[in-house]
């Protein structure tokens, strides 16, 4: 059992991890083809993953309806939408044109709903900004001042107040902001290497479940 649940996955992770590292340094056609093949495998496995996902979704919502858990009405809507859309897709051969039911549903139902969710972001940003800019500490005060300058740099009134404000805004973006970003990116890159190594050599096994 341990062999199948531990040894084989670890061996596979080690083998393919090392293979992919080696592939990066070998420009041979064989390795390029191998990379393409692996990418295709990924896509195929991903497609089968959807079946698992739909099974989980159906199972979870079916039991919500069955047990009448609070909000079970939403589960009916979810399952009905799933079935109806699949049926429409099969009947219309997934015709994406706006006049076909399949395309229409996407364009006039899903897209506006997604846009509504996205537009909520504006209000949440306002709320988050309020939290961040309450000048309780020196750091928060600095943040507030910098934020005001950057905001003014982005609107025409900024240059009316002081002509160099856009330039200051650009400078903040190009230097302090970029420096902080790159610091994070550099740290992430190193951490990525270390994590990859841990996974490849089998020290990090948490993704397999038990961990130790």
């Amino acid at each position: 059992m341990i062999f199948w649940k531990r040894t084989v996955p670890l061996a596979l992770a080690f083998f393919f991890g090392v293979l992919m590292i080696v592939q990066y340094f070998i420009p041979h056609e064989w390795f390029e083809n191998l990379l393409d093949t692996m990418a295709r495998w990924g896509q195929i496995v991903g497609a089968f993953g959807l079946v698992v996902g739909i099974a989980s979704l159906t199972h979870s919502h079916y039991f919500k309806i069955k047990r009448r858990v609070p909000g079970w009405g939403y589960s009916i809507v979810t399952l009905a939408s799933l079935v109806i859309y699949v049926v429409i897709g099969f009947l219309t051969e997934c015709d994406d044109s706006p006049n076909a039911p399949f395309g229409w549903g996407y364009l006039y139902i899903l897209m506006p709903m997604q846009a509504s969710m996205f537009s909520l972001l504006a209000f949440f940003v306002a709320s988050a900004a309020y939290k961040a800019f309450r000048a309780r500490t020196i750091e928060a005060t600095v943040l507030l001042i910098v934020a005001i300058v950057v905001m003014l740099a982005r609107v025409p009134i900024g240059s009316y107040i002081y002509e160099n404000i856009p330039r200051i805004g650009e400078w903040i973006f190009a230097y302090p902001n970029m420096a902080a970003r790159r610091a994070i990116m550099l740290g992430v890159a190193l951490a990525t290497v270390a994590t990859s190594l841990r996974v490849i050599v089998g020290i990090e096994r948490s993704y397999l479940g038990g961990g130790d």
Partner: protein, 892 residues
């Protein structure tokens, strides 16, 4: 001392000579020109490198500087002279400034440009005519290295004075062979689609046969029904609808005619000896025609209105356009006049300058420049004049167009008026026109006439009832009311029906024909008529269906007799055989083409380098580099360009592995405190106390993304704590594969702490793979279930704030971790603890406290220290102008 003076003189002479050799305009060939395989690909590219010799004079900036320096003294003198000469003229300053700029530009432009040319051939020592020009390269030309490009050019990153040129062998030398391979491949790919379409064709063929039979049945039906009233009625109604939808002018005329025809038909006089039946038929027709007419009138009026509106709109639009065009042209003419004026002054000034310097030989260059500029200015002035003339002509043309358009509008207006009056006439103006009145009169007459007919008919019925031999009477009376009425109403009746039925028909007819003057000829009447027509059409359809089913029977007979299917099958088989043969043949061709491409790609190619002096587009001098560079593109087993990557990869790996080993020996290693991870126990404990679930979100990445792997690792640690505290853990997933892994991780973690019962499969579930749908669903769950703790670990996009802010409003403790630096600020503001960037990857090790994992963190930190040192040193080097560190970190 003497030797020193001689030495100084010799050195000065040498320097002068060296400067002379650097004089622009001289072609100095590079010292080295090499071609070699470019190791960054699978044997498809060749790298050309040639040094820029010390005398390289392709740098335009250098030329510019040298020229400016050499002409500086003279330029200043000329500038002063110019200012003296032009001082009295209007806008003298501006002119002087322009003149100086032009002068400098022309002086620089006088230097012929020097470029490199790369020629290629598949033959060694190919004579000049057989060499093919691949690219002419100007100084400072750069492009990005992309495989899709046939050749790219740049400066060699490690040799600042070397030129760097990458040639894609397949695209440059083997375009024909590669094209053939692509063509065959795409042909073969198409064949799969063709094969599929063949299957479809087979079915389509059978369907077409069936359709053909249907059509034949319909045609037969129509032929039989030809001349019958039903068909005519249907055709007429259809025609009206069709014509109205087209909204054309001719329709109005035609409608008028149709209406007239309808009226003629309705009110043509009956002979005096007409039978009762004929009268009934005529009466029916009269009414129907009148209804058609009313419909036509109504539609005509509508149509007239639309046409009128459209034309008027068009006229307005055209007028606006013409006005705008005229205004714009007038503005540009004003601008051009201004320019022409300025140019005129400039030409005069330049002529004056040429005149002044005509006799002074020391100003030869300047005179030439001034002459050239004068000539240019004259040309420009001429061009402006030409443009002005064109604009004026355009204005004239616009005015003419306006006149023409006015005429057109007048004609159109008249036409519209005519249409409108036609429509009004057809509509009967306010509804009281002569036509309508006459129609009403005629209908009244028809009504009276019907009363006569009705009484005649009623008399006939009474007589029939009285008579013992009714049939004889009817034949004598030469009427067959049953047949006549049945024909009119389109209803088939059995000839032996009771006469009471006839009376019923007469009543029906009477109802149908009853005319109510107060209702007028309204549209609803037309609707009734259209309804009747539809009924008739349905009748035809029913008949057609009957015939069709008959045809179907024939068709099935055809099938059973093996007429269509075997035929289609045979045809399909023939095509399939042909297809197989063709595919086989093409596959062979593909193999050959690939072989020939492979051979050609691996052969040796030759490159020739030339330096040219170019005047405009013309090459005035070309010198060939004496050596021919030859190279063969081959598949490499190691990409030498990535040596630096390999070096850092090995260095970091060794560091990490060393510290892992070190940690085994020394398990108590210090790791800095990460408060977000210290709070995990507190957060889970809080959930236990409150009896509420813990939410864990793995972000929007798939299992192939490292942040998600890191997140799943943290999930394992969190799941253990949750299972130990007997709290509920809910994991809504964005990706089905992540869900499967998370389920397994949760299950194993629960088992590992001896609480397998803590794992509930339903608690790790798939939501959706759509970003905002996922955010909406998880927000909903947060609001309904009010979790005590929320973990947001992984890669997040714009939904991060939506999730975190909603979580914050539910009062949950939130611990977030992401390496998406754009989302970090949102988490910091809305969550209680945030793991920034690399901390996400350290979390699993930190939580587990396993020495080996902690060792890798130490290795990572040492790597970071190395990079910090490199950054500091690199900054110093960059300030000093040394790019050695930059080269070390550049992939090329």
């Amino acid at each position: 001392m003497r030797w020193l003076i001689i030495g100084v003189i010799v050195a000065a002479a040498f320097l002068l000579l060296a400067e002379e050799t650097r004089q622009p305009g001289r072609l100095i060939l590079p010292e080295k020109f090499e071609a070699k395989d470019y190791p960054n690909d699978a044997g498809q590219q060749i790298l050309l490198v040639w040094s820029a010799s010390p005398g390289d004079n392709t740098n335009l900036d250098e030329i510019d500087k040298r020229y400016k320096k050499s002409v500086e003294g003279r330029l200043n003198e000329w500038k002063n002279r110019i200012r003296d000469i032009v001082s009295g003229y209007p806008d003298a300053e501006g002119f002087a400034f322009d003149m100086e700029k032009e002068l400098l530009k022309q002086v620089v432009e006088r230097e012929p440009k020097i470029v490199y040319e790369i020629y290629i051939s598949t033959k060694k020592d190919a004579p000049e005519p057989e060499r093919k020009l691949l690219k002419q390269i100007e100084s400072n030309e750069m492009s990005n290295l992309q495989k899709s490009k046939p050749a790219v050019f740049g400066k060699h990153p490690s040799e600042p004075f070397a030129h760097f040129f990458v040639v894609n062998v397949e695209r440059v030398f083997c375009a024909e062979e590669a094209g053939k391979v692509d063509e065959i491949k795409s042909f073969l790919l198409d064949q799969f689609q063709i094969r599929d379409s063949l299957q479809a064709n087979k079915m389509a063929r059978i369907n077409a046969e069936e359709e053909h039979l249907k059509l034949r049945a319909m045609l037969k039906l129509l032929e039989e029904a030809k001349g019958s009233e039903q068909v005519e009625k249907y055709n007429l109604a259809y025609w009206i609808e069709e014509m109205i939808s087209e909204k054309n002018m001719a329709l109005v005329e035609q409608l008028g005619e149709t209406r007239q025809k309808a009226l003629d038909l309705a009110f043509v006089e009956l002979p005096k000896d007409a039978t009762v039946g004929e009268k009934v038929v005529r009466l029916q027709r009269a009414l129907e025609n009148s209804l058609i007419s009313s419909g036509i009138v109504y539609k005509s009026s509508q149509l007239g209105y639309y046409i009128r509106k459209e034309i008027l709109n068009k006229v307005d639009e055209m007028e606006r356009l013409l006005e705008a065009q005229k205004e714009e042209t007038q503005k540009s003419i004003a601008v051009l006049y201004e320019e022409a004026k300025k140019m005129d002054v400039k030409v005069k000034l330049l002529d004056r300058l040429v005149e002044v310097f005509a006799t002074d030989d020391s100003y030869n260059l300047f005179r030439e420049c001034a002459m050239r500029m004068a000539s240019d200015a004259k040309q420009l002035a001429g061009a402006i004049d030409g443009e002005l003339q064109k604009k004026e002509e355009k204005i004239k043309a616009a005015e003419e167009a306006k006149h023409r358009y006015d005429a057109f509008v007048r004609i159109k207006g008249a036409l519209i008026e005519r249409i409108y009056s036609t429509c009004e006439r057809l509509c009967g103006g306010t509804g009281q026109s002569a036509d309508i009145a006459s129609l009403r009169g005629a209908l009244k007459n028809a009504e009276a006439e019907f009363a006569d007919v009705y009484s005649d008919l009623a008399g006939a019925v009474i007589l029939y009832r009285l008579s013992a031999d009714g049939e004889k009477f009817m034949s004598e009376a030469t009427i067959n009311p049953e047949e006549q009425l049945a024909g009119i109403l389109g209803i088939q009746q059995h000839p032996t029906e009771e006469l009471s039925t006839i009376a019923g028909f007469i009543k029906m007819l009477s109802d149908k024909l009853s005319y109510k003057p107060e209702e007028g000829l309204s549209y609803s009447v037309f609707d009734i008529f259209k309804g009747n027509l539809s009924e008739s059409f349905r009748l035809i359809e029913r008949q057609a269906e009957a015939l069709e089913s008959l045809a179907r029977k024939d068709w099935f007979k055809g099938v059973s007799n093996g007429v269509f299917v075997p035929k289609a099958q045979a045809a399909a088989k023939a095509v399939k055989d042909k297809y197989n043969l063709l595919v086989e043949k093409k596959r062979k061709e593909l193999k050959e083409a690939e072989k020939s491409l492979e051979e050609k790609r691996g052969s040796e190619f030759y490159f020739y380098l030339a330096m040219c002096r170019v005047d405009g587009e013309q090459v005035v001098e070309r010198q060939w580099y004496k050596e021919v560079a030859a190279a063969r593109a081959k598949t490499e087993w190691f990409n030498t360009n990535r040596i630096n990557n390999l070096f850092f990869c090995v260095l970091l790996s060794v560091l990490v592995l060393y510290f892992i080993g070190h940690a085994r020996r020394n398990p108590h290693m210090f790791i800095r405190k990460i408060s977000g991870l210290d709070a995990v126990d507190e957060a889970v404990g809080r959930a236990t106390e409150m009896g509420k679930p813990v939410f864990y979100l793995t972000g929007l990445g798939g299992m192939s993304d490292l942040p998600t792997i890191a997140s799943v690792n943290i999930l394992s640690r969190v799941a253990r704590k949750v299972a130990q505290h007997d709290t509920r853990l809910r994991v809504p997933c964005y990706d089905p594969i992540v869900m499967s892994v998370a389920q397994e991780v949760y299950k194993e973690a629960s088992t590992a702490v001896g609480r397998p019962d803590a794992y509930r499969e339903d608690d790790v579930f798939y939501v959706t793979s759509d970003q905002f749908s996922y955010a909406a669903a998880v927000d909903g769950m947060m609001v309904r279930e009010k979790p005590a703790t929320i973990f947001l670990m992984g890669y997040f996009y714009a939904e991060s704030l939506i999730l975190a802010e909603t979580g914050s409003t539910t009062g949950a403790i939130q611990i977030a971790g992401t390496d998406a630096y754009t989302q970090v600020p949102f988490f910091i503001t809305t969550c209680d603890y945030t793991l920034i960037g690399e901390e996400l990857y350290a979390a699993s090790a930190y939580l587990s406290r396993e020495p080996m994992l902690l060792g890798s963190l130490r290795g990572q930190d040492i790597g970071k220290a190395i990079f910090i040192i490199a950054i500091v040193i690199g900054t110093v080097f960059a300030i000093a102008g040394w790019d050695i560190l930059q080269l070390l970190f550049t992939e090329y």
